[in-house]
Protein backbone atom coordinates (compact mmCIF):
# COMPACT_ATOMS: atom_id res chain seq x y z
CA UNK A 1 0.00 0.00 0.00
CA UNK A 2 1.21 3.49 -0.81
CA UNK A 3 0.25 5.27 2.34
CA UNK A 4 1.11 8.90 2.94
CA UNK A 5 0.98 10.78 6.19
CA UNK A 6 -0.14 14.24 5.11
CA UNK A 7 -0.05 15.85 8.55
CA UNK A 8 -2.06 16.23 11.74
CA UNK A 9 -5.83 16.26 11.45
CA UNK A 10 -6.12 19.36 13.64
CA UNK A 11 -4.03 21.35 11.13
CA UNK A 12 -6.85 21.10 8.57
CA UNK A 13 -9.34 23.94 8.51
CA UNK A 14 -12.95 22.75 8.78
CA UNK A 15 -14.21 23.00 6.13
CA UNK A 16 -10.84 22.73 4.46
CA UNK A 17 -8.69 20.70 2.10
CA UNK A 18 -5.24 19.79 0.90
CA UNK A 19 -4.48 18.65 -2.63
CA UNK A 20 -1.35 16.53 -2.73
CA UNK A 21 0.74 15.12 -5.55
CA UNK A 22 3.23 12.25 -5.46
CA UNK A 23 4.69 10.37 -8.44
CA UNK A 24 2.33 12.22 -10.77
CA UNK A 25 -0.79 11.14 -8.85
CA UNK A 26 -2.95 13.94 -7.44
CA UNK A 27 -5.48 13.54 -4.65
CA UNK A 28 -7.74 16.06 -2.91
CA UNK A 29 -8.30 15.49 0.82
CA UNK A 30 -11.22 17.36 2.38
CA UNK A 31 -12.38 17.89 5.95
CA UNK A 32 -16.05 18.69 6.54
CA UNK A 33 -17.65 18.65 10.01
CA UNK A 34 -14.68 16.75 11.42
CA UNK A 35 -14.82 13.95 8.81
CA UNK A 36 -12.24 13.35 6.09
CA UNK A 37 -12.97 12.51 2.43
CA UNK A 38 -10.50 12.04 -0.42
CA UNK A 39 -10.81 11.84 -4.21
CA UNK A 40 -8.56 11.65 -7.23
CA UNK A 41 -8.00 15.12 -8.62
CA UNK A 42 -9.40 14.16 -12.02
CA UNK A 43 -12.78 15.41 -13.14
CA UNK A 44 -15.02 12.79 -14.82
CA UNK A 45 -16.05 15.43 -17.35
CA UNK A 46 -12.81 16.28 -19.13
CA UNK A 47 -10.06 15.42 -16.70
CA UNK A 48 -9.77 18.84 -15.07
CA UNK A 49 -8.30 19.35 -11.57
CA UNK A 50 -11.69 19.04 -9.87
CA UNK A 51 -10.38 19.17 -6.28
CA UNK A 52 -8.56 22.48 -6.78
CA UNK A 53 -11.63 24.62 -7.40
CA UNK A 54 -13.88 26.72 -5.25
CA UNK A 55 -15.65 25.10 -2.29
CA UNK A 56 -19.16 26.47 -2.06
CA UNK A 57 -22.45 25.42 -0.49
CA UNK A 58 -25.04 23.88 -2.81
CA UNK A 59 -27.63 26.28 -4.21
CA UNK A 60 -31.23 25.25 -3.51
CA UNK A 61 -34.59 26.68 -4.49
CA UNK A 62 -37.24 27.07 -1.82
CA UNK A 63 -40.67 25.92 -2.94
CA UNK A 64 -43.71 26.81 -0.86
CA UNK A 65 -47.30 25.61 -1.04
CA UNK A 66 -48.81 25.22 -4.53
CA UNK A 67 -45.33 25.06 -6.06
CA UNK A 68 -44.61 28.73 -5.52
CA UNK A 69 -40.92 29.57 -5.70
CA UNK A 70 -39.54 31.49 -2.76
CA UNK A 71 -36.17 32.02 -4.39
CA UNK A 72 -32.65 30.67 -4.12
CA UNK A 73 -30.74 29.93 -0.93
CA UNK A 74 -27.47 28.24 -0.01
CA UNK A 75 -27.71 24.84 1.67
CA UNK A 76 -26.66 24.92 5.31
CA UNK A 77 -25.23 21.40 5.11
CA UNK A 78 -24.15 20.33 1.62
CA UNK A 79 -20.73 21.64 0.72
CA UNK A 80 -19.56 21.17 -2.88
CA UNK A 81 -16.22 21.41 -4.58
CA UNK A 82 -16.37 22.96 -8.04
CA UNK A 83 -14.15 21.82 -10.88
CA UNK A 84 -12.33 24.98 -12.00
CA UNK A 85 -12.40 24.02 -15.68
CA UNK A 86 -16.15 24.08 -16.37
CA UNK A 87 -17.90 24.27 -13.03
CA UNK A 88 -19.10 20.70 -12.37
CA UNK A 89 -20.07 20.70 -8.69
CA UNK A 90 -19.47 17.63 -6.52
CA UNK A 91 -20.85 16.96 -3.04
CA UNK A 92 -17.70 16.63 -0.92
CA UNK A 93 -19.26 13.92 1.27
CA UNK A 94 -20.24 11.61 -1.59
CA UNK A 95 -18.07 12.75 -4.51
CA UNK A 96 -21.19 12.79 -6.67
CA UNK A 97 -22.18 15.57 -9.10
CA UNK A 98 -24.96 17.54 -7.44
CA UNK A 99 -27.18 17.36 -10.52
CA UNK A 100 -26.43 13.84 -11.80
CA UNK A 101 -25.30 11.36 -9.18
CA UNK A 102 -23.95 8.94 -11.77
CA UNK A 103 -21.14 11.41 -12.50
CA UNK A 104 -18.68 11.10 -9.65
CA UNK A 105 -15.14 11.61 -8.49
CA UNK A 106 -13.08 8.48 -7.84
CA UNK A 107 -12.86 7.97 -4.08
CA UNK A 108 -9.51 7.45 -2.36
CA UNK A 109 -9.01 5.85 1.08
CA UNK A 110 -8.29 8.28 3.90
CA UNK A 111 -8.22 7.71 7.68
CA UNK A 112 -7.04 9.40 10.83
CA UNK A 113 -4.51 7.41 12.85
CA UNK A 114 -2.85 8.70 16.00
CA UNK A 115 -4.08 12.17 15.09
CA UNK A 116 -2.51 12.12 11.61
CA UNK A 117 -4.29 12.00 8.27
CA UNK A 118 -3.20 8.95 6.27
CA UNK A 119 -4.04 8.74 2.56
CA UNK A 120 -3.73 5.59 0.47
CA UNK A 121 -2.57 6.95 -2.86
CA UNK A 122 -3.69 5.17 -6.03
CA UNK A 123 -0.89 3.65 -8.10
CA UNK A 124 0.52 5.95 -10.83
CA UNK A 125 -1.17 5.55 -14.17
CA UNK A 126 -4.59 4.84 -12.70
Amino acid sequence: MREFNIGPAFAFADPGRKVIEADGVEVGVFKVDGEFYAYQNICPHNGGPACQGKMIYKVEELIAEHGVSKGLVFSKTQLNVTCPWHGYEFDIRSGRHQGDGSVRLAAVKVRVESGDVIVTMPAPGL
Partner: protein, 415 residues
Protein backbone atom coordinates in the same frame (compact mmCIF):
# COMPACT_ATOMS: atom_id res chain seq x y z
CA UNK B 1 2.78 -5.22 6.24
CA UNK B 2 2.55 -1.43 6.05
CA UNK B 3 5.29 0.57 4.42
CA UNK B 4 6.52 3.67 6.25
CA UNK B 5 4.02 6.49 5.85
CA UNK B 6 6.31 9.51 5.93
CA UNK B 7 6.85 9.75 2.19
CA UNK B 8 7.54 12.95 0.28
CA UNK B 9 4.63 14.64 -1.45
CA UNK B 10 3.92 18.05 -2.89
CA UNK B 11 1.01 20.25 -2.03
CA UNK B 12 -0.97 21.85 -4.89
CA UNK B 13 -2.67 25.17 -4.35
CA UNK B 14 -6.26 26.12 -5.11
CA UNK B 15 -6.70 27.54 -8.61
CA UNK B 16 -7.20 31.28 -8.32
CA UNK B 17 -7.26 34.34 -10.57
CA UNK B 18 -3.47 34.48 -10.27
CA UNK B 19 -2.82 30.85 -11.31
CA UNK B 20 -0.62 30.43 -14.36
CA UNK B 21 -2.46 29.09 -17.46
CA UNK B 22 0.05 26.24 -17.67
CA UNK B 23 -0.90 25.12 -14.16
CA UNK B 24 -4.64 25.46 -14.81
CA UNK B 25 -4.31 23.30 -17.93
CA UNK B 26 -1.57 20.90 -16.81
CA UNK B 27 -3.90 17.89 -16.92
CA UNK B 28 -4.46 18.55 -20.61
CA UNK B 29 -0.71 18.90 -21.16
CA UNK B 30 -0.30 15.38 -19.74
CA UNK B 31 -2.88 14.16 -22.25
CA UNK B 32 -0.94 15.91 -25.03
CA UNK B 33 1.99 13.52 -24.50
CA UNK B 34 -0.06 10.90 -26.37
CA UNK B 35 -0.62 13.08 -29.43
CA UNK B 36 2.87 14.44 -30.08
CA UNK B 37 2.64 13.60 -33.77
CA UNK B 38 -0.72 15.30 -34.29
CA UNK B 39 -0.94 18.69 -35.99
CA UNK B 40 -3.27 20.89 -33.93
CA UNK B 41 -5.07 24.08 -34.85
CA UNK B 42 -7.47 25.83 -32.50
CA UNK B 43 -9.69 27.96 -34.71
CA UNK B 44 -11.40 29.90 -31.92
CA UNK B 45 -9.65 31.28 -28.87
CA UNK B 46 -10.27 34.65 -27.30
CA UNK B 47 -8.60 37.86 -26.40
CA UNK B 48 -10.18 39.45 -23.34
CA UNK B 49 -9.63 42.75 -25.08
CA UNK B 50 -10.91 44.93 -22.25
CA UNK B 51 -7.65 44.03 -20.42
CA UNK B 52 -5.86 45.86 -23.23
CA UNK B 53 -8.59 48.41 -23.83
CA UNK B 54 -6.38 51.52 -23.47
CA UNK B 55 -4.23 50.17 -26.34
CA UNK B 56 -7.26 49.54 -28.55
CA UNK B 57 -8.98 52.82 -27.73
CA UNK B 58 -5.67 54.53 -28.49
CA UNK B 59 -5.72 52.95 -31.98
CA UNK B 60 -9.07 54.51 -32.96
CA UNK B 61 -8.68 56.59 -36.10
CA UNK B 62 -11.48 59.07 -35.51
CA UNK B 63 -10.21 61.64 -33.02
CA UNK B 64 -13.58 62.42 -31.51
CA UNK B 65 -14.60 58.81 -30.90
CA UNK B 66 -11.11 58.15 -29.54
CA UNK B 67 -11.64 61.00 -27.08
CA UNK B 68 -15.05 59.54 -26.08
CA UNK B 69 -13.32 56.27 -25.22
CA UNK B 70 -10.41 57.88 -23.44
CA UNK B 71 -12.71 60.09 -21.41
CA UNK B 72 -14.65 56.99 -20.33
CA UNK B 73 -11.48 55.22 -19.26
CA UNK B 74 -10.24 58.27 -17.35
CA UNK B 75 -13.44 58.07 -15.34
CA UNK B 76 -12.77 54.43 -14.51
CA UNK B 77 -14.73 52.53 -17.15
CA UNK B 78 -12.96 49.34 -18.26
CA UNK B 79 -15.36 48.91 -21.17
CA UNK B 80 -15.65 52.45 -22.52
CA UNK B 81 -17.68 52.65 -25.77
CA UNK B 82 -18.84 49.03 -25.50
CA UNK B 83 -22.46 47.89 -25.32
CA UNK B 84 -22.27 45.03 -22.86
CA UNK B 85 -25.24 42.67 -22.61
CA UNK B 86 -26.92 41.82 -19.34
CA UNK B 87 -25.31 38.68 -17.98
CA UNK B 88 -21.79 39.39 -19.23
CA UNK B 89 -20.52 39.14 -15.65
CA UNK B 90 -22.39 35.90 -14.97
CA UNK B 91 -20.30 33.88 -17.39
CA UNK B 92 -17.83 32.71 -14.74
CA UNK B 93 -20.72 31.02 -12.87
CA UNK B 94 -20.44 33.58 -10.09
CA UNK B 95 -16.76 33.09 -9.38
CA UNK B 96 -16.66 29.31 -9.87
CA UNK B 97 -14.75 29.35 -13.20
CA UNK B 98 -11.97 31.83 -12.70
CA UNK B 99 -10.18 31.61 -16.06
CA UNK B 100 -13.38 33.15 -17.45
CA UNK B 101 -13.32 35.95 -14.86
CA UNK B 102 -9.77 37.09 -15.57
CA UNK B 103 -6.25 35.78 -16.03
CA UNK B 104 -4.13 37.84 -13.63
CA UNK B 105 -1.00 35.69 -13.73
CA UNK B 106 2.39 37.35 -13.86
CA UNK B 107 4.23 37.55 -17.18
CA UNK B 108 7.76 38.56 -18.04
CA UNK B 109 7.65 42.23 -19.07
CA UNK B 110 10.69 41.67 -21.31
CA UNK B 111 9.19 38.71 -23.20
CA UNK B 112 6.70 40.49 -25.42
CA UNK B 113 3.10 41.59 -25.12
CA UNK B 114 1.16 40.22 -22.18
CA UNK B 115 -1.52 38.83 -24.51
CA UNK B 116 1.04 36.99 -26.65
CA UNK B 117 2.65 35.42 -23.61
CA UNK B 118 -0.66 34.21 -22.23
CA UNK B 119 -1.80 32.88 -25.59
CA UNK B 120 1.49 31.03 -25.95
CA UNK B 121 1.00 29.47 -22.52
CA UNK B 122 -2.42 28.19 -23.53
CA UNK B 123 -1.08 26.83 -26.83
CA UNK B 124 1.82 25.07 -25.13
CA UNK B 125 -0.41 23.69 -22.39
CA UNK B 126 -3.02 22.29 -24.79
CA UNK B 127 -0.44 21.19 -27.35
CA UNK B 128 -1.54 23.50 -30.16
CA UNK B 129 0.52 24.42 -33.20
CA UNK B 130 -1.67 27.37 -34.18
CA UNK B 131 -4.38 29.39 -32.52
CA UNK B 132 -6.84 31.76 -34.20
CA UNK B 133 -7.81 34.62 -31.90
CA UNK B 134 -11.13 36.45 -31.69
CA UNK B 135 -12.21 39.37 -29.52
CA UNK B 136 -14.77 38.86 -26.70
CA UNK B 137 -17.10 41.73 -25.68
CA UNK B 138 -16.66 43.26 -29.13
CA UNK B 139 -18.71 40.32 -30.42
CA UNK B 140 -21.78 42.26 -29.30
CA UNK B 141 -20.95 45.37 -31.32
CA UNK B 142 -23.51 44.43 -33.97
CA UNK B 143 -26.14 45.56 -31.43
CA UNK B 144 -24.42 48.87 -30.70
CA UNK B 145 -26.83 51.75 -31.36
CA UNK B 146 -24.03 53.74 -33.02
CA UNK B 147 -22.76 52.22 -36.27
CA UNK B 148 -19.87 54.68 -36.22
CA UNK B 149 -18.64 53.25 -32.92
CA UNK B 150 -18.73 49.73 -34.38
CA UNK B 151 -16.66 50.98 -37.32
CA UNK B 152 -14.19 52.82 -35.08
CA UNK B 153 -13.65 49.89 -32.72
CA UNK B 154 -13.40 47.36 -35.55
CA UNK B 155 -10.73 49.47 -37.23
CA UNK B 156 -8.84 49.92 -33.97
CA UNK B 157 -8.99 46.23 -33.02
CA UNK B 158 -7.87 45.11 -36.47
CA UNK B 159 -4.94 47.47 -36.36
CA UNK B 160 -3.97 46.44 -32.81
CA UNK B 161 -4.20 42.72 -33.46
CA UNK B 162 -2.48 42.81 -36.86
CA UNK B 163 0.30 45.24 -35.95
CA UNK B 164 0.88 44.64 -32.27
CA UNK B 165 -0.09 41.03 -31.54
CA UNK B 166 0.07 38.68 -34.52
CA UNK B 167 3.61 39.59 -35.67
CA UNK B 168 4.92 38.58 -32.23
CA UNK B 169 4.26 34.87 -32.68
CA UNK B 170 3.95 32.93 -35.95
CA UNK B 171 1.60 30.48 -34.19
CA UNK B 172 -1.04 33.18 -33.67
CA UNK B 173 -3.43 34.03 -36.49
CA UNK B 174 -6.40 36.36 -36.75
CA UNK B 175 -9.63 36.87 -38.65
CA UNK B 176 -10.48 40.40 -39.72
CA UNK B 177 -13.32 41.79 -37.58
CA UNK B 178 -15.95 43.30 -39.89
CA UNK B 179 -18.19 46.21 -38.75
CA UNK B 180 -21.08 44.61 -40.57
CA UNK B 181 -23.66 47.36 -39.96
CA UNK B 182 -21.64 49.50 -42.40
CA UNK B 183 -20.90 47.47 -45.56
CA UNK B 184 -18.67 50.13 -47.14
CA UNK B 185 -16.40 50.15 -44.09
CA UNK B 186 -16.17 46.35 -44.33
CA UNK B 187 -15.15 46.60 -47.98
CA UNK B 188 -12.40 49.09 -47.13
CA UNK B 189 -11.06 46.80 -44.43
CA UNK B 190 -11.11 43.76 -46.70
CA UNK B 191 -9.17 45.71 -49.30
CA UNK B 192 -6.65 46.88 -46.71
CA UNK B 193 -6.00 43.53 -45.03
CA UNK B 194 -6.62 40.93 -47.75
CA UNK B 195 -2.89 40.48 -48.33
CA UNK B 196 -1.85 40.31 -44.66
CA UNK B 197 -0.51 36.75 -44.18
CA UNK B 198 -1.46 36.73 -40.49
CA UNK B 199 -5.09 37.60 -41.28
CA UNK B 200 -6.28 34.24 -42.52
CA UNK B 201 -9.97 35.04 -42.92
CA UNK B 202 -12.81 37.37 -42.04
CA UNK B 203 -15.42 37.35 -39.31
CA UNK B 204 -18.90 38.67 -38.76
CA UNK B 205 -20.12 38.78 -35.17
CA UNK B 206 -23.49 37.03 -35.53
CA UNK B 207 -25.31 38.86 -32.74
CA UNK B 208 -27.13 41.42 -34.87
CA UNK B 209 -30.45 42.02 -36.59
CA UNK B 210 -29.18 42.84 -40.10
CA UNK B 211 -30.22 40.16 -42.60
CA UNK B 212 -27.15 38.67 -44.24
CA UNK B 213 -28.84 38.37 -47.63
CA UNK B 214 -29.40 42.13 -48.02
CA UNK B 215 -28.15 43.40 -51.36
CA UNK B 216 -25.90 45.88 -49.54
CA UNK B 217 -23.57 42.95 -48.72
CA UNK B 218 -23.19 41.35 -52.12
CA UNK B 219 -20.12 43.36 -53.12
CA UNK B 220 -18.50 42.52 -49.79
CA UNK B 221 -19.08 38.78 -50.25
CA UNK B 222 -17.72 38.95 -53.78
CA UNK B 223 -14.57 40.66 -52.48
CA UNK B 224 -14.10 38.06 -49.75
CA UNK B 225 -14.68 35.23 -52.22
CA UNK B 226 -12.01 36.76 -54.41
CA UNK B 227 -9.43 36.66 -51.58
CA UNK B 228 -9.87 32.88 -51.24
CA UNK B 229 -9.93 33.26 -47.46
CA UNK B 230 -12.94 31.98 -45.48
CA UNK B 231 -15.68 33.98 -43.79
CA UNK B 232 -16.64 33.01 -40.24
CA UNK B 233 -19.91 33.78 -38.46
CA UNK B 234 -19.00 33.93 -34.79
CA UNK B 235 -22.05 33.64 -32.60
CA UNK B 236 -22.74 35.24 -29.25
CA UNK B 237 -25.50 35.96 -26.78
CA UNK B 238 -27.86 38.85 -26.23
CA UNK B 239 -30.12 38.73 -23.21
CA UNK B 240 -31.66 42.03 -24.25
CA UNK B 241 -33.42 40.42 -27.21
CA UNK B 242 -37.18 40.64 -26.51
CA UNK B 243 -37.75 36.87 -26.77
CA UNK B 244 -34.84 36.08 -24.50
CA UNK B 245 -35.99 38.50 -21.83
CA UNK B 246 -38.48 35.80 -20.84
CA UNK B 247 -35.60 33.54 -19.78
CA UNK B 248 -34.79 34.08 -16.09
CA UNK B 249 -31.47 32.28 -15.78
CA UNK B 250 -28.21 32.75 -17.67
CA UNK B 251 -28.10 29.01 -18.51
CA UNK B 252 -31.44 29.29 -20.33
CA UNK B 253 -30.53 32.35 -22.34
CA UNK B 254 -27.00 31.17 -23.15
CA UNK B 255 -28.16 27.70 -24.26
CA UNK B 256 -30.46 29.19 -26.87
CA UNK B 257 -29.04 32.58 -27.78
CA UNK B 258 -25.84 31.45 -29.53
CA UNK B 259 -27.74 28.93 -31.60
CA UNK B 260 -30.51 31.40 -32.39
CA UNK B 261 -28.22 33.70 -34.39
CA UNK B 262 -26.67 30.82 -36.29
CA UNK B 263 -30.12 29.48 -37.19
CA UNK B 264 -31.24 32.84 -38.53
CA UNK B 265 -28.14 33.68 -40.54
CA UNK B 266 -27.76 30.17 -41.94
CA UNK B 267 -31.43 30.09 -42.98
CA UNK B 268 -31.19 33.44 -44.75
CA UNK B 269 -27.90 32.46 -46.35
CA UNK B 270 -29.31 29.28 -47.85
CA UNK B 271 -32.89 30.21 -48.71
CA UNK B 272 -31.65 33.29 -50.58
CA UNK B 273 -29.29 31.15 -52.60
CA UNK B 274 -26.04 32.75 -51.45
CA UNK B 275 -24.12 29.48 -51.86
CA UNK B 276 -25.11 29.58 -55.55
CA UNK B 277 -24.22 33.26 -55.90
CA UNK B 278 -20.82 32.83 -54.23
CA UNK B 279 -19.92 29.20 -54.89
CA UNK B 280 -16.27 29.60 -53.93
CA UNK B 281 -16.91 31.50 -50.70
CA UNK B 282 -16.02 29.22 -47.79
CA UNK B 283 -18.13 29.66 -44.65
CA UNK B 284 -17.34 28.68 -41.06
CA UNK B 285 -19.91 28.65 -38.25
CA UNK B 286 -18.29 29.30 -34.91
CA UNK B 287 -19.45 28.74 -31.32
CA UNK B 288 -22.91 27.33 -31.52
CA UNK B 289 -21.94 23.75 -30.79
CA UNK B 290 -23.04 21.01 -33.18
CA UNK B 291 -26.55 19.88 -32.21
CA UNK B 292 -28.26 22.72 -34.08
CA UNK B 293 -26.89 21.59 -37.43
CA UNK B 294 -28.88 18.35 -37.97
CA UNK B 295 -31.98 20.09 -36.59
CA UNK B 296 -31.81 22.84 -39.18
CA UNK B 297 -30.84 20.45 -41.98
CA UNK B 298 -33.97 18.40 -41.41
CA UNK B 299 -36.24 21.38 -40.88
CA UNK B 300 -35.15 23.24 -44.01
CA UNK B 301 -35.14 20.14 -46.21
CA UNK B 302 -38.64 19.25 -45.04
CA UNK B 303 -40.09 22.66 -45.88
CA UNK B 304 -38.00 23.24 -49.02
CA UNK B 305 -39.55 20.28 -50.79
CA UNK B 306 -43.00 21.81 -50.26
CA UNK B 307 -42.08 25.46 -50.86
CA UNK B 308 -39.16 25.40 -53.28
CA UNK B 309 -40.86 28.28 -55.16
CA UNK B 310 -39.63 30.51 -52.35
CA UNK B 311 -36.01 29.46 -52.82
CA UNK B 312 -35.62 29.36 -56.59
CA UNK B 313 -31.85 29.74 -56.63
CA UNK B 314 -31.29 26.39 -54.92
CA UNK B 315 -30.15 23.47 -57.03
CA UNK B 316 -30.05 20.93 -54.24
CA UNK B 317 -31.39 20.41 -50.73
CA UNK B 318 -30.56 22.97 -48.04
CA UNK B 319 -28.74 20.25 -46.10
CA UNK B 320 -26.49 19.64 -49.11
CA UNK B 321 -25.33 23.26 -48.94
CA UNK B 322 -24.87 23.01 -45.19
CA UNK B 323 -22.71 19.93 -45.70
CA UNK B 324 -20.32 22.00 -47.83
CA UNK B 325 -19.69 24.44 -44.98
CA UNK B 326 -17.31 24.23 -42.02
CA UNK B 327 -18.20 24.11 -38.34
CA UNK B 328 -16.16 24.82 -35.23
CA UNK B 329 -16.79 22.00 -32.75
CA UNK B 330 -17.05 23.95 -29.51
CA UNK B 331 -19.05 23.79 -27.26
CA UNK B 332 -19.54 20.17 -28.26
CA UNK B 333 -22.71 18.70 -26.78
CA UNK B 334 -21.78 15.23 -25.57
CA UNK B 335 -24.49 13.98 -23.23
CA UNK B 336 -25.92 11.56 -25.80
CA UNK B 337 -23.19 9.71 -27.73
CA UNK B 338 -25.63 8.30 -30.32
CA UNK B 339 -26.95 11.74 -31.21
CA UNK B 340 -23.39 13.03 -31.35
CA UNK B 341 -22.43 10.25 -33.73
CA UNK B 342 -25.47 10.92 -35.92
CA UNK B 343 -24.47 14.59 -36.06
CA UNK B 344 -20.93 13.74 -37.10
CA UNK B 345 -22.29 11.53 -39.86
CA UNK B 346 -24.90 14.05 -41.03
CA UNK B 347 -22.36 16.80 -41.62
CA UNK B 348 -19.36 14.85 -42.94
CA UNK B 349 -17.47 15.73 -39.81
CA UNK B 350 -14.33 14.11 -41.09
CA UNK B 351 -13.79 16.89 -43.62
CA UNK B 352 -15.98 19.75 -42.32
CA UNK B 353 -15.41 20.01 -38.56
CA UNK B 354 -12.69 22.20 -37.10
CA UNK B 355 -11.48 21.92 -33.52
CA UNK B 356 -12.04 25.05 -31.44
CA UNK B 357 -11.16 25.50 -27.77
CA UNK B 358 -12.81 28.86 -27.00
CA UNK B 359 -10.16 29.25 -24.30
CA UNK B 360 -10.27 31.01 -21.83
CA UNK B 361 -14.05 30.99 -21.73
CA UNK B 362 -16.04 29.00 -19.20
CA UNK B 363 -17.33 26.36 -21.63
CA UNK B 364 -14.00 25.74 -23.41
CA UNK B 365 -13.15 22.36 -24.94
CA UNK B 366 -9.62 20.96 -24.70
CA UNK B 367 -8.33 18.86 -27.64
CA UNK B 368 -8.97 15.68 -25.63
CA UNK B 369 -12.68 16.37 -26.10
CA UNK B 370 -12.05 15.21 -29.69
CA UNK B 371 -9.52 12.44 -29.04
CA UNK B 372 -11.87 10.91 -26.44
CA UNK B 373 -14.73 10.44 -28.94
CA UNK B 374 -15.06 6.65 -29.19
CA UNK B 375 -16.59 6.34 -32.67
CA UNK B 376 -14.07 8.52 -34.55
CA UNK B 377 -11.32 6.97 -36.62
CA UNK B 378 -7.73 8.01 -35.99
CA UNK B 379 -7.73 9.89 -39.29
CA UNK B 380 -10.97 11.71 -38.46
CA UNK B 381 -9.48 12.89 -35.17
CA UNK B 382 -6.38 14.18 -36.95
CA UNK B 383 -8.49 15.95 -39.55
CA UNK B 384 -10.76 17.66 -37.04
CA UNK B 385 -7.91 18.63 -34.72
CA UNK B 386 -5.83 20.29 -37.40
CA UNK B 387 -5.67 18.94 -40.93
CA UNK B 388 -9.06 20.35 -42.01
CA UNK B 389 -8.01 23.78 -40.74
CA UNK B 390 -4.66 23.51 -42.51
CA UNK B 391 -6.47 22.90 -45.78
CA UNK B 392 -9.03 25.65 -45.24
CA UNK B 393 -6.60 28.33 -44.02
CA UNK B 394 -3.66 27.24 -46.11
CA UNK B 395 -1.42 26.57 -43.10
CA UNK B 396 1.76 24.59 -43.45
CA UNK B 397 1.43 21.27 -41.62
CA UNK B 398 4.46 21.39 -39.40
CA UNK B 399 5.11 21.08 -35.72
CA UNK B 400 5.19 24.56 -34.21
CA UNK B 401 4.83 23.69 -30.53
CA UNK B 402 7.17 22.42 -27.84
CA UNK B 403 6.93 18.82 -26.69
CA UNK B 404 4.32 18.29 -24.00
CA UNK B 405 6.97 17.03 -21.55
CA UNK B 406 8.95 20.26 -22.06
CA UNK B 407 5.81 22.36 -21.61
CA UNK B 408 5.12 20.52 -18.34
CA UNK B 409 8.63 21.06 -17.06
CA UNK B 410 8.49 24.84 -17.62
CA UNK B 411 5.21 25.41 -15.80
CA UNK B 412 5.38 26.93 -12.31
CA UNK B 413 3.83 23.78 -10.83
CA UNK B 414 2.24 25.59 -7.94
CA UNK B 415 -1.29 24.43 -8.69
Amino acid sequence: MHEPVNRPFRELQEITLQTDTRDILSHETKRAIDREDYFLVDIDAHVSETQFWPEIIGSIDNEVIRQWGQAGMERGSSAALLNLSAGTNYQDVYGRILHQSALRQAVDPAAGHRFTQMARRSMDAMGLDYQVVFPTPMLLLGMHPQDEVEVALAGAYNRWVSERILPEDPRLKGLLFLPFNTPEACEELVQKYAGDPNIIGFTIASTRNKPVHHNAYMKLYAMIEETGKPLAFHSGFNWDDPSFRQLNRFISMHSISFVHWSLIHMTNWIINGLPERFPKLKLIWVESGLAWIPFLMQRLDHEYLMRSCEAPLLKKLPSDYMRDMYYATQPMERSNPRLLQATFEAVNAETQFLFASDWPHWDFDPPSAITDIPFLSEQAKRNILGLNAARLFNLEVKKMRPKAADALSTRPGVS
